[in-house]
């Protein structure tokens, strides 16, 4: 989940409007149901229905996820079965299937010339804040207990499916994307390599070489979410035509688990997000046909670099929602602890230094919540966030989540450092929000570039 600075040649370009999509939603898929009722009021709080969704998911998380913390955090229990149960319980799989059917039918009519192709890329949103809230609320609620689970879910049904849904052929979408959107299959999206992270394209070594009608894929990927368990992998690499590295086109292939020459490592040990398995991929002469080349063409816009960049921006709003869940939970636990814990003869909440911490946490919660509301409103209005705005949102939210979680540990004293208290886990989990989906430094670069070119 890296981010790149735009290739040097594009420095002077105007900021592209990007379709910002939450982790978990495929882009270019209009929300289910034709009835889009624009919410008349500006959004400053969750609506009644949205609160019902929140409460229902919160109850699910309480009964299905919270009690399994030990196995998820310290026992390598993969998150997928619980996530599938979540999908089935709330009909998210059925909704995904309906949406998919809708879109594919339209694309087929367009392909057959029965319907005009939409002039502009189909905008997300289209006036229904509820359909966007339906994606954000589960992210927020699950993150109160298991941000790792959201990472696993978002990469599979968000990033991986989006890569196929945005650039794939109809046949490829039917073959791979639907199962990812319903979570029947687990997906991984692989761009990062041992030698290339923030500079994802510049230092990328993974390659595809033509071999007759087929391609031979080689390379290794690391830090790949769902890598150890993925059924479907989007592998991003450079087309090796014997030309200089920096001129090579970026192409993506879809791989299936078990293909000869593809090795998926065991989960790597890491600081947090234990409920999200992260691994390495090794490809040695993996032979694939053109049917696995996304879009079935090597001629992709701006050498393939733009396509992947859309994907970077799309994760960023998801990170804001994740941050909100972490902040809400840390604040809740901290307020309670400040009331309960007595030192020097009074609850620690009576000390001004503790009050300062709580007040700052509340400020962070309000700000991040407002960012999430703004994102929902803008998406509903069909107004895309610019890349710089999405970066600003991600940067602020990720930092706020990490700070709040670390302060929550501090407020809990020694207990805060113990695994028994949840803030210890949330603090470890929060940190990665500043690293994946583009590091803080890369977000800052994007924001500054946008400011300086105005």
């Amino acid at each position: 989940m890296p981010a790149t600075s735009p290739p040097t040649g594009r420095w002077g370009d105007p900021v592209e409007a990007v379709e910002v999509t939450a982790i978990g939603l495929a882009p270019n898929v209009s929300p289910s149901g034709a009835t889009t009722s624009p919410q008349g009021d500006d959004m400053f709080e969750w609506s009644e229905e949205q609160l019902m969704i929140r409460d229902a998911v919160r109850q699910f998380v309480q009964t299905e996820i919270a009690p399994k913390r030990e196995e998820l955090e310290h026992g390598d229990l993969p998150p997928y079965e619980i996530l599938r149960k979540l999908f089935a319980t709330f009909g998210m799989d059925v909704m995904a299937r309906d949406r998919f059917k809708h879109q594919i039918e339209r694309e087929k009519r367009v392909a057959a010339g029965e319907e005009a192709a939409p002039a502009a890329p189909v905008r997300r949103g289209g006036g229904d804040p509820n359909s966007i809230a339906m994606t954000m609320l589960p992210i927020i609620e699950i993150c109160r207990h298991s941000p790792g689970m959201v990472t696993a879910m978002g990469v599979s049904m968000g990033l991986t499916s989006a890569a196929i849904m945005s650039k794939g052929t109809i046949a490829q979408k039917e073959r791979w994307a639907l199962d990812l959107l319903t979570l029947d299959k687990v997906g991984a999206w692989a761009i990062t390599e041992p030698g290339s992270g923030s500079d994802a394209f510049g230092s990328m070594r993974s390659s595809a070489r033509r071999d007759g009608d087929e391609y031979l894929l080689n390379g290794s990927k690391t830090f790949i979410t769902n890598g150890p368990h993925a059924d479907t992998i989007v592998f991003i690499c450079k087309l090796d035509e014997g030309n200089p590295m920096e001129d090579r086109k970026i192409v993506s292939f879809v791989l299936d688990r078990g293909m000869p020459g593809l090795e998926q490592s065991k989960p790597l040990r890491k600081m947090g997000m234990h409920s999200s398995p992260t691994g390495e991929l090794f490809l040695t002469d993996v032979r694939v046909g053109r049917d696995r080349l996304i879009g079935e063409t090597e001629d992709v816009a701006s050498g393939g670099r733009a396509g992947a960049k859309d994907t970077f921006s799309m994760e960023r709003s998801g990170v804001a929602a994740m941050s909100l869940g972490i902040i809400e939970r840390c604040l809740e636990l901290s307020v309670q602890y400040a009331k309960d814990r007595v030192q020097f003869g009074k609850p620690i909440g009576e000390f001004q230094l503790i009050q300062d911490k709580l007040a700052r946490m509340e400020v962070a919660r309000l700000n991040v919540q407002n960012l999430v509301f703004r994102f929902i409103e803008m998406s509903a209005a069909g107004a895309p966030l610019s890349l710089a705005e999405a970066s600003a949102m991600k940067l602020y939210a990720a930092r706020a989540a990490t700070e709040v979680a670390m302060e929550a540990v501090q407020l809990h004293g020694g207990n805060g450092y113990m695994a028994e208290y949840q803030v210890e886990q949330l603090a470890r989990d929060a940190k990665v929000l500043q690293i994946y989906a583009g590091t803080d430094e890369i977000q800052i670069t994007h924001i500054a570039k946008d400011l300086l070119r105005r």
Binding site: E48, Q59, F90, N130
Partner: protein, 258 residues
């Protein structure tokens, strides 16, 4: 198959309760679906599914046209609701409640009426039987399993050491024991659909009831005082000097347990 489920909307038990000046419970805030009734809703939805058709209608009496709890049950899958809300009903007791619910149920003409065995807040556990008596319908209590067989209903009634099997004709009023089915979560689609499902708002006069016979006017009861439950007396502590068993034996003997 048309099933009416009586659902009580109650103040959230997680919030601290408050009494009004007349010593009745403050019900002015948001009311939620009584968890006891979520089992009846689930069972009704299952019965309709099994019957291969029909629908579930909710009936609720609550102040201030409050329908938050109803929306929850509608989101689970009930088709519509009748909500009786009327200032005339303030101060209603169990019997008034039963009269009002019975009148609403009658207007819905169901094949079967489900209730909980007792509510979580009032818990007199008398409303279902009163409804049955007022409507002249058979009443079966403490159901753990309900099967519909043509024109009759077969119920396994929970007892202390097992269950009784009881059959009666339809329509009937059956009260459902808590925990016997797992109430479903509302799907996201269900939640979105709940808002547009019909909720018929009814009043005392609208149901053809005499205002003098319901609510505080007809309650036939008055709350004169509310007191804290007596604190439990501290138990007797016996320090075991090796002979404590004799104290226990004589204690149990005193209770005529051995």
């Amino acid at each position: 198959m048309h099933v009416v489920v009586c659902v009580k909307q109650i103040p959230d038990p997680a919030e601290p309760g408050k009494l009004e000046g007349d010593l009745t419970l403050d019900r002015s805030g948001k009311l939620i679906l009584d968890e006891s009734d979520s089992y009846g809703v689930e069972m009704a939805l299952q019965l309709v599914d099994k019957a291969g058709g029909g629908e579930v209608t909710l009936v609720s009496m609550a102040p201030n046209n409050e329908n938050s709890g109803l929306r929850t049950a509608l989101a689970m899958g009930a088709a519509k609701a009748i909500l009786i809300s009327d200032p005339l009903l303030s101060g209603a007791g169990a019997l008034d409640t039963a009269k009002v619910l019975a009148a609403a149920i009658k207007s819905a003409e169901p094949d079967l009426v489900l209730t909980a065995t007792e509510s979580s807040d009032g818990y007199t556990g008398t409303v279902p039987e009163q409804i049955a008596a007022l409507l002249g319908l058979p009443s079966i209590t403490f159901a753990k399993e309900v099967h519909i067989d043509g024109q009759s209903v077969n119920v396994r009634r929970q007892t202390e050491d097992g269950y009784d099997e009881v059959t009666c004709s339809l329509p009937a009023v059956v009260s459902v024991t808590a925990g016997v089915v797992e109430p479903r979560y509302p799907s996201f689609k269900g939640i979105m659909a709940a808002k547009s499902k019909p909720v018929e708002e009814q009043t005392v006069v609208g149901l053809g009831l005499d205002p003098a016979r319901v609510g505080v006017a007809g309650a036939g009861q008055e709350i004169v005082a509310v007191e804290d439950a007596p604190v439990r007396e501290a138990g007797e502590i016996i320090v075991d000097d090796g002979e404590a068993f004799t104290n226990i034996v004589s204690f149990l003997d005193g209770l005529k347990l051995i």
